[in-house]
């Protein structure tokens, strides 16, 4: 069992009268690659900011590598990489100045990797001397990712990192993430709405709903086991699943259940015959169902 890198215990956060996080409990073991999913405004960015100590929590606590976020040691800070959702960073500096600025602050800095990424991701020649402020959003985002990867972090937190990248940029980023970051056993928390990217990268997914982690599971297991069972309420009312995610009554006495039936439960479903419709779900279907 890997040690817990991120430990979030009963974290609550509101903005004025609007609650955003409501007692979130979340543990992420070392080497895990977790995709954080949730609808717009569900609180994904707030959760990530609270995780990093960039926002105070109203209740609960967060530790990173065992350090409380309010008192992170320098050694712990050196192990964290973060790509914020808003890539507007140091608009007055050029990429070279920006990276030199951060290089001065990290004990470990992979200059060869930075140089390689700069070249591969289109920051060669004059681009290296172009102020960040006049770059496109995608260029800023690429630079922001390079900055976050430069010190080879052990924990990488990415808040919608590919939202403003073109398909080529997204492909480059995912390749880098898979070939270098994940290969090094880096723990990654990856918030995104682009589910196809998540399927390529994430080992686990977590759904944030109503201020809580509504569901967390290894992605493959989830896709393999999650089923939507639809049928008349008379047939389904007696059925109870150990891992039932949601049960929703529909029109004309039809009930829809989202669950992860066990082998025995699947057999019981089979016995019900043609009265029930059992469907496997894609990640997109799951997203819609879980966050409904």
């Amino acid at each position: 069992m890997n040690a817990s890198v991120v430990n979030i215990a009963a974290v609550s956060k509101s903005f004025g009268a609007q609650p955003v996080l409501d007692g979130v409990d979340w543990n992420i073991a070392a080497g895990k690659v977790v995709g954080l999913l949730g609808r717009n405004g569900a609180g994904k960015s707030t959760l990530l900011e609270c995780t990093l100590g960039l926002r105070e929590v109203d209740a609960g606590g967060v530790t990173l590598f065992g350090d409380p976020v309010a008192r992170l040691s320098d050694a712990t800070r050196a192990r964290i990489g973060y790509v914020p959702q808003k890539p507007e960073l140091f608009e007055w500096l050029t990429p070279i100045q920006l990276l030199a600025y951060f290089q001065a602050q990290y004990p470990r800095w992979n200059a060869a990797k930075v140089d390689g990424l700069l070249t591969r991701w289109g920051f060669s020649g004059n681009m290296r001397r172009k102020p960040v402020g006049i770059m496109s959003v995608g260029e800023k985002q690429r630079l922001s990712i390079i900055r976050a990867l430069a010190h080879d972090p052990d924990l990488l937190i990415l808040d919608e990192p590919v939202a403003s990248l073109d398909p080529a940029g997204r492909r480059d980023f995912l390749r880098e993430l898979i070939d270098d970051v994940i290969e090094r056993d880096t723990t990654v928390i990856f918030s995104t709405h682009i589910l196809s990217d998540l399927e390529r990268v994430a080992l686990d997914v977590a759904f944030l709903k109503d201020g809580k982690i509504a569901l967390q599971s290894p992605l493959d297991e989830l896709l393999e086991s999650a089923r939507r069972i639809t049928g008349p309420s008379a047939a389904l009312s007696a059925l109870r699943f150990a891992d039932e995610i949601r049960r929703e009554p529909g029109a004309a006495g039809i009930v829809s259940i989202l669950a992860r039936p066990s082998v025995t439960e699947m057999a019981a479903l089979g016995a019900e015959g043609s009265r029930l419709q059992v469907e496997a779900l894609s990640l997109e279907d799951l997203f819609v169902e879980v966050t409904k």
Partner: protein, 470 residues
């Protein structure tokens, strides 16, 4: 006709959307009450004219500016290029409203001051400069420059009053109006561009200025980053940053670089340094001048006051705008510990403020010495009036909803102007000890305010990332 009406409606709709038209109603009420009171109490046409002139003139100018701002905004590259007759309508309406406004102000000045022709010319010129100023903001400085030139030239060949004396008001006014109309006809197509790269660039700059006016927050201008002037302005910052990146700098100082060049105090020393150099050059080139002796030191005080005001405002804006960067820095090893964060930030901000004040004060005193028109105690005391503003740098940045807007600097500028005008009127009557006492009082007040502000800030949550608790 509908096209014209729609264009004319836009400034009204824009103003209504921004809030109630309280200034218009206030001026209208002021005009009505003023006219009634003037008529009942004095019964003199000139007094009634003044009562009409001030509010109605202000209303005319207010709505002229609103129209021009709206019109250039309506002339988006897309509209200018693709909407039939749109640009032409905008140009024709501008010309017609300029004539109407000129006529209205001319008649009012005839009523109030008894000079129709010169009133007409002055109004035409004023509205002209205001309109051109929307397209070329630097044109707004032309009237001030003309005043300076006419006052500095020992033997002016062309002076407005000499021309009036020689040719009469009507002739000068007609000639002036013809000149302005010609210039207007030439400038109208430049005010309302028709698509193309130049139009896009201008529209970006215009949108930037509008954003500054609307929110009081200066967004980072992409354009300024590529200009030579922009490069020069941040050269001190860039060099200092380069030194810091090569090592040996405390994390508190590194944190200050994350606020960008706008919050770097040395950037604002360019103005006092330039003023001192220009003053020295002018005194050598022009020799003794009554105008310069009296006004140059006060003008330099005014400009340095604005510079310090801008520093205070821009620090707030920079802290507000760079919260993402602050978050990243908080995650770096060696980041300033939370318990001492506010202390280190307050020290850095106040250090910048006082260094800038010192440079400004030295510059003002040197300029005073160069021209010899004002005593150093008087000038130093005037600059000391700025010291209490340092307390504006000590605030609860973590809960900051918005930075101080440009209205704060405008307020400081207006205050500075009033203080300077008042002081230039009374300085001869007062002893230097009184000015010294004023300066000392300012220092004591500053110490008192800073003491309170410091204690409050130390009890607040860590300032960065800013606005996270707002």
């Amino acid at each position: 006709m509908k096209g014209y009406l729609q264009i004319l409606m836009q400034p009204v709709l824009q103003r209504c959307a921004a809030g109630p038209l309280w200034m218009t109603w206030l001026l209208t009420a002021f005009m009505l009450v003023g006219v009634v009171v003037a008529e009942v109490v004095t019964g003199k046409t000139a007094i009634v004219g003044v009562a009409l002139f001030i509010p109605l003139g202000s209303l005319t100018i207010l709505w002229w500016i609103a129209f021009i701002q709206s019109a250039v905004q309506q002339n988006l590259p897309l509209h200018a290029q693709l909407v039939p007759q749109h640009r032409g309508r905008l140009m024709r309406l501008t010309a017609m409203l300029w004539l109407a406004g000129t006529l209205a102000l001319g008649c009012l000045s005839a009523l109030a001051l008894g000079h129709f022709c010169m009133g007409l010319l002055a109004s035409a010129a004023l509205l002209f400069v205001m309109a051109v100023g929307q397209r070329y903001p630097k044109a707004g400085a032309v009237p001030a420059l003309l005043v300076m030139v006419f006052n500095l030239l020992p033997h002016p060949v062309i002076h407005p009053w000499l021309l009036v004396e020689r040719y009469g008001e009507s002739a000068v006014a007609i000639a002036g109006l013809i000149l302005l109309a010609g210039a207007g006809a030439a400038l109208l197509p430049l005010m309302y561009l028709r698509g193309g790269d130049r139009h896009w660039r201008w529209q970006m700059k215009f949108a930037y200025r509008q954003e500054v006016l609307r929110t009081g927050v200066m967004p980072e201008s992409g354009a300024s980053l590529t200009t030579k002037w922009g490069w020069w302005q941040q050269i001190a910052y860039t060099m200092s940053l380069k030194r810091a990146c090569s090592g040996g700098v405390s994390s508190a100082r590194m944190q200050m670089y994350a606020l960008g060049p706008n919050a770097y105090w040395m950037r604002y020393t360019v103005m006092p340094a330039l003023l001192t150099l220009v003053s020295a050059a002018l005194s050598i080139l022009l020799g003794p001048s009554v105008f310069l002796n009296k006004f140059a030191p006060l003008y330099s005080v005014f400009l340095t006051m604005i510079g310090i005001g801008m520093f205070v405002q821009n620090v707030g804006v920079a802290i507000y705008r760079t919260s993402t960067e602050q978050g990243l820095l908080r995650l770096t090893p060696g980041a300033v510990p939370e318990v001492i964060f506010n202390r280190s930030l307050a020290r850095a901000l106040l250090g910048g403020f006082f260094k800038l004040w010192l440079v400004s004060a030295v510059s003002v005193v040197v300029i005073g010495k160069i021209f010899g028109g004002a005593g150093w105690i008087y000038l130093l005391s005037l600059t000391a009036l700025l010291l209490p503003f340092s307390v504006l740098l000590l605030r609860n940045f973590a809960a900051m909803r918005e930075p101080y807007g440009s209205s704060m600097t405008a307020l400081m500028a207006a205050g500075a102007l009033l203080v300077l005008l008042a002081s230039s009127a009374v300085d001869v009557l007062l002893w230097s000890q009184v000015w010294m006492a004023t300066g000392i009082a300012c220092v004591l007040l500053t110490a008192l305010l800073l003491g309170r502000g410091w204690r409050r800030m130390m009890a607040m949550p860590a300032a960065f990332p800013a606005s996270r608790m707002a």
